[in-house]
């Protein structure tokens, strides 16, 4: 009973961190894409251009949100396998297409929507597999 509670606690933690990551990534991507399109200078190999672009408020919000997303994702890596984290966070691709259409008014073709759905289906499939196969708990988790 105790190990069951511990294990469901770990699963709950994994999925909470996952949700936090997806929210930060979606907000960061949208703010970044919106902000960068307002920056007049085209980016090149010059690092000063990127630093100046970060002074734009939307780009700045995007940078902060994406850095927090990066740290959240690293925490997620400590809880689950890379081959679990990667496909499951792929839901973010569908969210990005949706936000691009709704908030950034981008043209999204049927083919692109179909692709987004396939990504989602793949992510769900992977989400139904065990959480961590390399830790000590693997014999338990593989059941």
């Amino acid at each position: 009973m105790n190990t069951f509670t511990e294990r469901s606690g770990a699963v709950l933690k994994t999925y909470s961190v996952l949700l936090l990551f997806l929210a930060l990534k979606a907000a960061g991507n949208s703010a970044m894409a919106w902000g960068m399109k307002q920056v007049p200078e085209r980016m090149s190999m010059n690092p000063a251009l990127y630093l100046r672009a970060m002074l734009h408020p939307f780009v700045a919000v995007g940078v902060v949100a994406l850095i927090l997303a990066l740290l959240t994702r690293m925490a997620l890596f400590s809880l689950a396998d890379l081959s679990f984290v990667l496909p499951v966070t792929a839901v973010g691709y569908v969210i990005a297409v949706f936000l691009g259409k709704v908030f950034l008014h981008e043209t999204v073709t049927n083919q692109r929507w179909l692709g987004a759905l396939l990504i989602f289906a793949g992510a769900v499939l992977v989400g139904s597999t065990s959480r961590n196969t390399t830790s000590a708990a693997r014999t338990e988790a593989l059941k």
Partner: protein, 119 residues
């Protein structure tokens, strides 16, 4: 130019993810509280390979900034997912994670989706 940026994002992401996943497994479980983040930053400073992984993320980040300046978000984000199958394969062969049939099928569906979204 846009595919060059996508390539830069993909390569930097793959290398960064592998280094981070490998190092974080050794660093132990982390939390997302304020103190957890402080400890995480400390861990990054102490582990050279983890720091290199974060540097890779920075490269991929700047390339992404340049990409979304000219391309729609609904292209930029899915296109960067081409790193997917390469990473799943590396997770199996380099990190020795077990990739079952369901996980492999899921990753392949994601790949097919990415091809459609990017096309």
């Amino acid at each position: 130019m846009k595919w060059l940026l996508v390539a830069a994002i993909v390569l930097a992401t793959v290398l960064g993810d592998l280094l981070q996943s490998h190092e974080m497994k050794q660093a132990g479980e982390q939390s997302v509280s304020a103190r957890g983040f402080a400890r995480l930053l400390e861990t990054i400073a102490q582990r050279r390979l983890l720091f290199l992984g974060v540097a890779c993320n920075a490269v991929s980040f700047f390339a992404f900034m340049a990409l979304v300046q000219t391309e729609p978000l609904s292209f930029a984000v899915p296109a960067s997912a081409s790193s997917f199958v390469l990473e799943t394969l590396l997770a199996k062969f380099v990190l020795h994670e077990r990739i079952g049939a369901r996980r492999a099928a899921g990753a392949l569906a994601v790949l097919a989706g990415v091809v459609l979204v990017g096309g």
